[in-house]
Symmetry: C2
Subunit: 243 residues, 2 copies
């Protein structure tokens, strides 16, 4: 299986996606939060690029909530920030959330040419791996996988790369990797016994701690808590059928 | 000391360089070849972006040689390719080389805003580290270091990142790193006992082997062979004074 890991939004070259499964990773915190929202009964997440687009979209979807962040903080006038702890059942159960984040929702929109787009994080990694093995078991429809790390403001992000490395490592030795895929696997293998420390010490981790979100870091660093594969369908992020 | 490692040419964000030392790394093969050329008596290397620019530049510098590659092979009509073994004393001794490569010379030109630009590779790493320690010993003139990995066609390149990791690791625990700097250090520490294998297995390494350049890989993977710090002065790459 061919797997290409990309470092961030703003990657100079987004490869040909038409015959690839794209797995978007934004550990801190968009994909971790999207997984949590769906687990807590959120009907769907609609990724948009700007706060203005979110407000416009809500006009067509009355009753939906607005979620997301700028500079890691809740956007003025929005119902929810980008913390997974904002997306509790009492708030998101049975409702749509229109969401915009600095890196995560942009990575999702950059992947739109792909036939399948899934959201991965540490907290749902086991389900992602099982779903990938099922997807590639019989079918030759897809040529490979692009793991798209959202990154931090167009920069290489260690938490996302470690998460990509956990994914690649779980698929065994027979995968064909680009250099960043091989690097991610080495980084994960050498860090897997102290993932939370590595994530806390990252540039993005230190920033979130300074803003009082240390609890989010611990949560987002904990593998395999939720059996959910979020997938983009008709512009909405929903629970993958069969999960 | 603050060190920021950038992954490749085409990096979405080149940081503020005016008060930084930039260290350009293109292990396969531009910076390894530049170090070798200077060690073999080459008077200066003039980095240019295109073959056309190389030909124009030679009009103003009669007697200089043309060197470089496209798609890893010597450019038609040029005197030298991008293999360090092309840059022997009999050819480059006492002469200028006008050089253009796909990634390396572009990284050099992208760094031009910096007050100091040095060229690093495995083969001259020890000299680079000693020169950096001297440079930052007394002076506060420079705010930090940007390690600019040339990468491979705008992609993350494992050989360059391992070389950046060797540099960062040698400066000890008290350096402030961005996420890619931390990743490079982890990658180097976990790979330093089999550097040549990692470089051979990289995307760029496999390509060079397929083209018959395996000897170049072995050479470019061998640390600390040449006591030279190439530096950009007035648009030319020369031996750092005092080295």
């Amino acid at each position: 299986m061919q797997i290409e890991v990309l470092p961030s939004t703003g990657s100079p070259r987004i490869p040909y996606l038409e015959d690839r499964l794209v797995i978007v990773i934004d550990v801190l915190r968009a994909t971790s939060t999207i997984v949590t929202a769906l687990a807590n009964g959120c009907q769907a997440i609609i990724p948009v690029l700007t706060a203005e687009e979110a407000l416009e979209t809500r006009l067509t979807l009355p009753g939906s909530l607005l979620g997301g962040e700028r500079d890691s903080l809740i956007i003025e006038g929005f119902d929810l920030g980008n913390s997974p702890f904002d997306y509790v059942p009492e708030k998101v159960g049975g409702r749509r959330v229109i969401m915009t984040t600095t890196n995560g929702t942009r990575a999702i929109r950059d992947s739109i040419a792909a036939p399948m787009i899934w959201m991965a994080s540490f907290i749902n990694m086991q389900s992602i791996i099982l779903a990938v093995l099922r997807e590639f078991e019989n079918k030759n429809r897809l040529k490979g996988i692009v793991v798209f790390c959202a990154g931090t403001e167009e920069r290489f992000d260690l938490p996302d790369t470690l998460c990509a490395g956990m994914f690649v490592d779980a698929l065994g030795p027979d995968v064909l990797l680009n250099d960043l895929g091989e690097a991610a696997r080495i980084l994960y293998r050498s860090s897997k016994n102290h993932l939370a420390d590595k994530i806390r010490d990252s540039v993005h981790g230190r920033k979130l701690i300074s803003l009082g979100f240390e609890r989010d870091l611990v949560y987002c660093s904990t593998p395999n808590m939720l059996p959910i594969v979020p997938v983009v369908q008709n512009g909405e992020i929903v629970w993958l059928t069969g999960e």
